[in-house]
Homo-oligomer: 180 residues x 2
Amino acid sequence: MITKKEFNEACAEALQMIADAGIVLTLEDREKITAADFGLSNLRKEGIQILTMFETDRIAGKILVLFPNQTEPEHWHPPVGNDPGKEEIIRAISGDLYFYIPGEDTLDKGFIVDGKSDCYTMRHEVDLKPGDQLVLPSGTKHWFQAGPAGAVMYSFSTKVRDTLDQFTDPNIIRETKIVA
Amino acid sequence: MITKKEFNEACAEALQMIADAGIVLTLEDREKITAADFGLSNLRKEGIQILTMFETDRIAGKILVLFPNQTEPEHWHPPVGNDPGKEEIIRAISGDLYFYIPGEDTLDKGFIVDGKSDCYTMRHEVDLKPGDQLVLPSGTKHWFQAGPAGAVMYSFSTKVRDTLDQFTDPNIIRETKIVA
C-alpha cells in the first residue's frame, strides 16, 4: 500500500518527466496517470507510473515512467483462451532504460534489487537509448529498470489483461492499495 | 508514379518534420521512411509519408507525415477472414490535422480536393490538435488532411494489410511506382 500523498507526488513527478521528454498531453490524458506498487509498499524501489493513452479490446498504448533506479518487477503475459498472450513493444523516449529478458547473463549497468535474487531471474541486459525499441513476444519473462536519470517509454501491445500477469515474486499483488 | 528525386526529397522533408516534432529516431528508423502517391502521380496533393516503427503479425506502429495541405485519400480497412479489419488509433503530434469520418457534414477547416467530390464522401470533421487522439473502429471510412503547417501523427493499429485497403477513388493503385 502507499499513502495518498505518496501516490499524488509520484503522479505529479511522472507527468513532469513526460513533459520534459517532449510529449504533449491533453488535460484528459493527464488525469489518466497512475502509480503501481505491486503490493510491495515501496513504490520508488519496486514500482512504476503508467498513463494509458488508449485501450480497446484489441490494442493498447501506454506511457510508462520509471523514477531513477526504480525497478518494474519480473513478470510475463500468459496465454488466455485462443489468445497466445499479450505481445508488447517498448520504445524508449528519454533517460536510461535497461530491460532484462531470456538469454546469456550480461547484467552490467543495472542491479538486482537487494535480497531479491530469486525474484529477478532474467539477466540478459538490453540497454535502450532514446528511440530504441524492443519487441517482447507473448510469454517472454521480463523486468526493467531505470538508471540514475529515470526513464520514460512507450508500451504498445495487443489486448491488456493486467490482472492476469504472472510475477516471479510470490508477494506481489497487482492492485495498488492507496490509504489516507 | 513519382520520380526518384521527388521521392527522396519527400522522404528527407518528412524526416525533418519528424525531428522538428521532437521525436528521436535511430539511424535504423530513418531508413524506413517512405512516400505513397496512391498511383495518382501528384504526391504533394494526394499522398502521404510513412515511417513504420514496428509491425508484427498482431500490431503495428507508424509515424505519418502530411505536408502542408496534403490529403490522404478516403479509404477503409475491410474484414479479412475472422479478423473484423484493422482498428487504428491516431495521435496527433504536431501541426494542423483534420480527419473526416462518418457523421454530420461539419467540413470547415479543410477542403475537398479539386474536382474530386465523389472521392471524398465523409464530411464530418475532427480537428486534432497535438496530443489529441482518434479511435477508428474496423471498417470506418476515413480520409485526412493537413492544414497550412503540415502534420505529424502516430498511427497504431492491429495487423496491417495495406494492400487490401479499399479506396473510394477508383483510380487509386496502392503501390507507389518510382521512376528514374
